[in-house]
Symmetry: C2
Subunit: 195 residues, 2 copies
């Protein structure tokens, strides 16, 4: 078992809760980077750049040594169009309206690196999600709860958004923001076991 400290380079309360659920001893540090997507790059190239930037920002701004850094980023893909976090309530309304009654994809990129050796692994996971039909009133009520504000695609599957999701195909935790089965496999390569 690796005795290095685990650092979660993320301010997401959801990722924080997931690592707690796995019983991992870790510290969360917020990265401050530009999360802009570049249309000239593929989804994976974008996610790799963003997750690597998050990890490096946290490493360089906190003088971290003897630790393993985990970072992740999640996007929603609807017919190859990328949906990130909504700019405002009108943006959130349009996103949810477009997701209503349709399948979309959620992609999370995960980056793990050893701060000392610079060994790094990047992987991503895709989960398909089917929304039931939503009425405009339901969408407005949902947005008024504030749950859409900070979430890719304007919904949280682990909150009230749960009643929008008819079915998924793939890893559920990938939709929440951190694919746990994938992360567990990646951590094994750094001699970190969860069980």
């Amino acid at each position: 078992m690796n005795n290095k400290k685990i650092i979660l380079a993320s301010a997401s309360p959801r990722r924080n809760q997931l690592l707690q659920m796995l019983g991992l001893d870790f510290k969360a540090v917020k990265p401050q980077i530009d999360e802009e997507f570049h249309t000239c790059l593929s989804v994976d190239e974008n996610l790799y750049n963003i997750t690597k930037s998050k990890a490096l920002y946290v490493k360089e701004n906190n003088n971290l040594a003897n630790c393993i850094i985990i970072s992740a980023d999640t996007i929603v893909l609807l017919e190859h169009k990328i949906l990130t976090k909504p700019a405002d309530t009108s943006d959130a309304f349009n996103m949810l309206k477009s997701l209503s009654g349709n399948w979309h994809e959620v992609v999370t990129g995960v980056y793990v690196t050893d701060a000392d050796t610079c060994k790094q692994i990047y992987k991503s996971k895709t989960t398909k999600v089917k929304f039931r039909n939503l009425t405009d009133d339901e969408i407005k009520s949902y947005i008024s709860t504030g749950e859409a504000d900070d979430k890719a695609g304007s919904y949280g599957i682990q909150g009230l958004g749960s009643i929008f999701v008819e079915s998924i195909e793939g890893c559920y935790y990938n939709v929440v923001g951190l694919p746990l089965v994938l992360l567990e496999t990646m951590l094994k390569h750094f001699n970190i076991s969860i069980l």
Copy 2:
């Protein structure tokens, strides 16, 4: 909007948390019934009998009026064999060993009734779940955490068991023990809206 009280006829902390997540104002009451499965009946017949018994037990033993009672029961099906809660750690080991590397099905039956009018609706939902390959040591470590003890199929997808589940097809919350999209639709028939 219905102004009747909502009663959850269940001692399950997971179902309790899910209703809280939906922001419902409810009270949980523990039913004490025989949850035995009868092999001469179908899965749905068994789930209907058990969920109805739970709701009726809670109604009759608590002098409930002016309320809507919700009950649910979850089982795991592996090649048509029903896996309920493990009898002991050896039973849990055998269940997890049989789930390792395979797809299985999780079926939850949901029963909702109006205590006054006796209007009742029963529905069930099935979700397919794929486990990754587990080593005997992983299974033993998992069982030693106690998480398997009170769960159908000997695992909790909302806990450490999350790192066993490679993929699902269907409703995630059905695997946790309460299919929220289905419940939301059923509650609408009793004039209860979540959003």
